[in-house]
């Protein structure tokens, strides 16, 4: 039965090739755009290596503090400081492991009169336990290296290629920012979207030129990674941290002291947060994303609706005949919507192909270094869902119009 309808739908669509082409083009393009964005978002939020534990990791990466001293009031909003994290973020209930790592900074290397800039981070030992890097040579540095102040570093594949060419790097020496480091390990390249892990060079905190950072509470560009026992512990951790801040605020006469552990999604939402609350506007971000998605789909849907209306009017005499011979409105509407969904699904398939191409192009272009994003089943399901949604949405209005066509007037060629 269904197969019969599908065969009819196929023939109908082939009859008016121009309109089928326009519709397919529009649906294909729109869906491709939506899928590309979805795939990238999915990729950014997914627990991909080295962030294999992303689903149960929280990050404290910003803080706001307001203080009056010497008659001057200062409010500072920015990255958290090492001392702040060390003092308030350790030994929180529900946390299995905790690490403090610096935000990425630029390290320069002069070679042959040329200036090279590399992305570098300093980290502690537990960093390498929370994040699972893929080591091509050697291994991570340890707590002992940190204690002894050993000048070791882990470098990425790309850095190895630049510093050592094709030779192995383990044990080799690198000069960055005027300091020499011994290579303890080489890891596979990490792309920028693995926000907590991305860098080219990692070294222990103790190798920093000035150890003053340990004293500073704010505005010194560190963040804490908290590996929870399970997701269920998240609310517990957040509340515990906030109460510690409340306590600190009253004890040390800060007018404002804000900060909160966040999931990756909350981190994205946080980027637009105002400085007077700690709540990341996650719901607003999701709301805005859906709003933007619907708005984006609005134009192609309108297009499809117009085209469908025209198609209906064109077939009005056919519809009139069918009605005169006893076809029910439901039957006709159902057939029309099915044709529409069929069209949209074909468009969806085309879109999947287009998305794969675009993603490949983005990866090749090097806009985001070391990007490795692919289609997966989640994206595929979304494609299916959106295509069907399109089909029903753009078919509903014309189908309703069609069911109201008076048979006699339809036979005379046109519904007025």
């Amino acid at each position: 039965m269904l197969l019969n309808y599908l065969k009819i739908a196929f023939k109908v669509l082939l009859r008016r090739k121009f309109f089928t082409a326009i519709s397919l083009f529009g649906i294909g393009f729109t869906l491709t755009a939506i899928l590309v964005v979805t795939a990238l978002a999915d990729y950014a939020l997914a627990p991909l290596p080295p962030e294999v534990n992303l689903d149960r990791t929280l990050q404290i990466w910003w803080m706001v503090v307001r203080q009056t001293s010497n008659g001057q009031t200062r409010e500072i909003a920015g990255s958290a400081g090492y001392a702040f994290l060390d003092r308030y973020a350790r030994d929180l209930p529900g946390v299995e492991k905790m690490s403090i790592a610096s935000d990425p900074f630029a390290a320069t290397r002069y070679v042959d009169g040329r200036t090279e800039t590399w992305t570098m981070r300093t980290t502690d030992g537990p960093y390498w336990e929370i994040l699972r890097f893929d080591f091509l040579e050697g291994g991570a540095f340890t707590e002992e290296d940190e204690r002894n102040g050993n000048r070791v570093a882990v470098i990425s594949e790309a850095a190895r290629r630049a510093f050592f060419g094709d030779r192995p790097a383990l044990g080799g020496s690198v000069e960055l920012d005027g300091q020499r480091y011994r290579v303890a390990g080489v890891v596979r390249n990490v792309d920028l979207l693995r926000a907590a892990a991305a860098a080219d060079i990692w070294a222990p905190h103790s190798t920093r030129k000035s150890q003053d950072f340990r004293r500073f509470h704010f505005a010194s560009e560190f963040s804490a990674l908290l590996l929870a026992r399970s997701r269920a512990d998240f609310p517990l951790i957040k509340t515990a941290f906030r109460s510690r801040l409340e306590l600190a605020k009253s004890q040390e006469s800060f007018e404002k002291l804000l900060g909160t552990p966040e999931t990756r999604l909350e981190q994205f939402a946080s980027a637009t947060r105002r400085t007077d609350t700690a709540e990341p506007p996650t719901r607003m971000l999701i709301g805005q994303s859906i709003g933007a998605l619907l708005l984006f789909m609005l134009l192609p849907t309108l297009n499809l609706v117009s085209i469908n209306m025209s198609r209906i009017l064109e077939r009005s005499s056919e519809i009139g005949v069918r009605k005169a011979f006893g076809a029910s409105a439901g039957h006709l509407v159902g057939q029309f919507i099915l044709e529409n969904i069929f069209l949209c699904l074909v468009g969806g398939v085309l879109a999947l192909g287009g998305t794969a191409l675009v993603l490949h192009g983005i990866a090749q272009s090097g806009l985001v270094p070391h990007l490795d994003v692919h289609l997966n089943y989640r994206v595929f399901l979304i494609a299916l869902g959106v295509a069907c949604f399109f089909g029903v949405l753009s078919g509903a209005l014309p189908a309703w119009q069609m069911s109201r066509l008076h048979p006699v007037r339809a036979l005379k060629g046109g519904a007025r």
Partner: protein, 406 residues
């Protein structure tokens, strides 16, 4: 004739409803993208206010900028800064040097103050610079004088304003010699030391050529302990200096302060990065807009084709009443342009809410008007382009055939 088209388009608004909605969305997209592009263009044409070519920045960070280091560290910091300044001034490759506190052109961090200007609390860049800054950065003085070394001895604190700040505070009057009054958001005067305006510079576009011009003021920094030493310097480099000089310089500074982080880079490189960051969102928006317009174009052509087929009799009738094929073509295009005009009108009303409500008030009204005009023209071009084939079809209708066609 034009009124006739508008009447037809208006009376057929329900049938044309979808086309109108599409054209409206298209216009809004075009309007938004063109407004941003025109805003950028408008900003680009304004003077930057300083010269960035052959200017480098030297950044030192030892200790924290905001938290109090102890007095011993501060003294050491100042001693090192003095040494570094002497080193910089001794090198032939460096023509002149000025210390800076945070507000480096094209840079991310800034030191701000605020003032009540024209009824709203506005942010003002608070630039603490040395007297050589004018030479290093090529600042253009348009009134009064620049800061001088002897100014520390004066009873008041001399301040140089940018032209837009001076105009906002004093209108067309002469700002030279006037006292700079700083009010907080409640309107109360912030009593610090007395500040007097001694000069006006053209502009200080710290955020780059694509951004609006911020309000800014310049004054000499408080030098020596117990104040914080400067963490940034700008250097005017002699043209034609060898690339190895950068490394050379960095090593020399590191010898003076081995536990400080030292970095040297050119303003030109920061400018490139800033431009790219600003242009990327616009490019993405333009791509999305291009796609939407393509969609509208295709859909429109298809719907028009259908509509011509439906109006065969009407077209035949008009030919019978004496219309030439050319007049029929212009009718189709005219109705389309009427629709486009309706869409552009409604869209403009919507977009113009932004300046009326005061959102994005860095964008001047003339930019909006110019961009909206461009958007209307583009929409008309699009609509005419889509209408060419269908209108050609309409002229091919044979009246005798059409009128008998039932």
């Amino acid at each position: 004739m034009i009124r006739h088209f508008f009447k037809l388009a208006w009376n057929r608004r329900r049938a044309n409803g979808f086309i109108l909605a599409e054209l409206l969305l298209c216009f809004l997209t075009l309007g938004a993208v063109l407004t941003i592009a025109c805003f950028f263009l408008h900003n680009w044409r304004q003077p930057l206010g300083f010269e960035y070519r052959n200017v480098w920045r030297l950044d030192l960070s030892g200790g924290n900028r905001f938290e109090d280091s102890d007095d011993g560290q501060k003294a050491q910091g100042w001693a090192r800064v003095d040494q570094i300044l002497r080193l910089l001034r001794s090198r032939d490759e460096i023509e002149s040097v000025s210390p800076l506190y945070f507000n480096v052109p094209f840079g991310a961090s800034s030191m701000l103050t605020a003032n009540l200007v024209g009824g709203t609390q506005r942010r003002v860049l608070d630039n603490r610079v040395g007297p050589e800054a004018r030479e290093v950065l090529g600042l253009r003085l348009v009134a009064g004088r620049w800061l001088e070394p002897g100014d520390e001895a004066l009873a008041f604190r001399p301040v140089v304003l940018t032209r837009n700040y001076a105009r906002a505070l004093y209108g067309d009057g002469d700002p030279i010699g006037k006292t700079l009054v700083v009010r907080n958001e409640d309107g109360k005067i912030d009593k610090e030391e007395e500040r007097r305006v001694v000069g006006v510079v053209e502009a200080w576009r710290q955020y780059g050529e694509l951004s609006h011009a911020p309000l800014a003021q310049f004054s000499l920094p408080a030098w020596g302990p117990p104040h914080l030493p400067p963490g940034n310097f700008v250097l005017k480099i002699r043209p034609g200096v060898s690339p190895a000089f950068e490394e050379d310089l960095v090593r020399a500074v590191r010898r003076i302060a081995p536990d400080w982080t030292v970095s040297v880079s050119s303003l030109a490189r920061h400018r490139d990065r800033l431009l790219r960051d600003r242009l990327l969102p616009l490019l993405i928006m333009a791509t999305v807009a291009g796609f939407l317009i393509l969609m509208v174009g295709l859909g429109l052509t298809g719907v028009l084709w259908q509509s011509i087929t439906r109006r065969t009799q009407e077209i035949g009738l008009r030919r019978a009443l004496g219309a030439t094929p050319g007049q029929i073509r212009w009718q189709i295009l005219g109705e389309l342009l009427a629709l486009a005009a309706l869409a552009a009108g409604a869209g403009s009303l919507i977009i113009l809410q932004a300046p009326l409500l005061g959102i994005f008030d860095e964008v001047p009204l003339q930019v909006y008007l110019f961009a909206l005009t461009l958007a209307a023209l583009s929409l008309s071009l699009l609509v005419v382009g889509c209408g060419l084939y269908p209108s050609w079809l309409a002229t091919r209708i044979r009246p005798a055939h059409a009128l008998q066609y039932e």
